[in-house]
Subunit: 340 residues, 2 copies
Amino acid sequence: MTQGRVTLRDVAHHVGVHPSTVSRALNPETRHMVTGEIATKVEHAAQLLGYRPNPMAYSLKTNRSLTVGVIIPDLTNPLFPPIIRGIEDVLGKRGYTAVIANTDNDFDREELILDRMRARRVDGLILATARRDDPLLAEYRADGVPLVLVNRDVDDHSIRSVINDDAEGIRLAIEHLTGLGHRWIADIAGPQALSTGFQRHQAYRETMAAQGLDIDDELIIFCDAYSVAAGYRAMSELLAKQRNFTASLAGNDLIALGCYDALREAGLSCPDDVSVVGFNDMPFIDKMAPPLTTVRIPHYDIGAEAARVLLSEMDNGEELSDEQIRLPCELIIRGSTAKA
Amino acid sequence: MTQGRVTLRDVAHHVGVHPSTVSRALNPETRHMVTGEIATKVEHAAQLLGYRPNPMAYSLKTNRSLTVGVIIPDLTNPLFPPIIRGIEDVLGKRGYTAVIANTDNDFDREELILDRMRARRVDGLILATARRDDPLLAEYRADGVPLVLVNRDVDDHSIRSVINDDAEGIRLAIEHLTGLGHRWIADIAGPQALSTGFQRHQAYRETMAAQGLDIDDELIIFCDAYSVAAGYRAMSELLAKQRNFTASLAGNDLIALGCYDALREAGLSCPDDVSVVGFNDMPFIDKMAPPLTTVRIPHYDIGAEAARVLLSEMDNGEELSDEQIRLPCELIIRGSTAKA
DNA sequence: CTCTTGTATGCAATCGATTGCACTCCTATA
DNA sequence: TATAGGAGTGCAATCGATTGCATACAAGAG
């Protein structure tokens, strides 16, 4: 019968020992309590009978689900799949399963998902949804479940996070543009409620100043979302001002694509009339017209590193450290930027 | 204490009844066995104490994990996230959690994942990885776990599947091309080991014949993968033949992008020299240069429908029906096709 | 007024593993 | 040669829910 699942008992019977001995023999942590001879016998029997531990029984007893929740704002955003891959690879090696959920950028949905996650008793959480001042955060920590932020950070750095070096990325982008002779650089910034949007915009101000360039506040537009539509609206708004500028920094690649649309609609050419730089180097962005110059972030590594941080936190019990890990990024120069 | 989880016992104590009564009161299936008055009391107490059933205990006893495995060949392929969304939405409403895993198109990895899934005792499986003659299938069914295929089918139709109507899509594409005056249409087909690749190619042959067009076998190239690189190689190979053709059908959008690259490299213009039609209408494909004419498939609905089929199978026990559900698709005409 | 029928609840076993404790040998040590 | 100490196993409780069975009590029928 396929129903007849093999249990510890069965293995014990087969070998002629007590189930607890089998348990100890099979668990690396306790193997040393068992005679080598019996241990190997048990292992063979387990192999032979096709024994698989029942994770529910294990979890019930040990109160560990061997499960980690991964909460993503939008799975259809190509930025996240590679991050998830990184997370899964690292967690999988340690026997953990990642349970992925996406909030669709919807607050209520996020609360619902959080609810589900705690009901499922996840052993840890990786969040890619953090706002700079996140009202759900208190809830997230309420259970004392180890928590790591990925990609986005919170302002008070009260939680460990693994992010990319936004400031560095912006610096590279602006230096590239000034190197091409641009002096009037617009900032089509991402949502300021998110650390990425905020950090990148701050970096814009700082780098512009450091380069001795004037900042024209009229050249700064804030998007209300990381989306093509928001980017389109922002660039349209900027163009309507009839202000002088020859280049623009976009909050991310999606926003940059929206800028493309607005520019095209206005009869302007990128990069001939306006250079555009994105952020993220999402898949296929190199195939757009024109191929986007953008800042590449180490998606996979960010995910992998976050998983590692989480694992260490789960191992050491409550770490409650507020370490922040920043991974370096890299400017990828393509066809959307040209001489001023 | 955050540790002090509320259990059935606690609720029972609070109300002054036996845990089993609480269990019955809280379960909709058995609520009728309990006095209305007590039932409401129990519910209030549960609410008050913040009771949450422990899923492990539930699963251990009932042998249902409330978990469904979703196996995807490649999460970074933009085709799949919307499908997953559809699956999650439907499953979530019924209290099931989707555990997503990707095989990275790697056979060994798939076996490993399958292993993990059965270890986790998933209640059902949704597979997007099926090959036409899949050697792992026997293993998949070995446990008698309900199984539904999504997006790809197997030749013997021995398993329920939810797919899009590939033949119809190809028909629409070819009729569009012939309408533009094309007579020599190449087929840069997807992997023939996958039902999608095979079906689409068959449809190509049939539709060409139905339209009274000659099929030049030299114009047919098979890709070994659904990837940009494979598409590039295939189109390069085709061009090297110096054969006459003015349009080409690509196995999917990724292959179409590879065709773009090869054409550009050869100094040919799409659509002026060669028209290209893709398949899937993946996100952002409308922003490519040129925007790709392609067949749109109802990603989300495919996922949602697959989840529904799976749920019904899980409800009714072993259904073992071989029903195949085909969802209609739609041709989206953009800039990659032009008059011959 | 008794007896049947039915309904609401309690009892206790159970799912399959983990783990503190007790027990039995066996081996050093004094 | 006693005896302490330690190593290897078995026993049984436990995690938190579900569920068949027993029981208690009420109401309706004869």
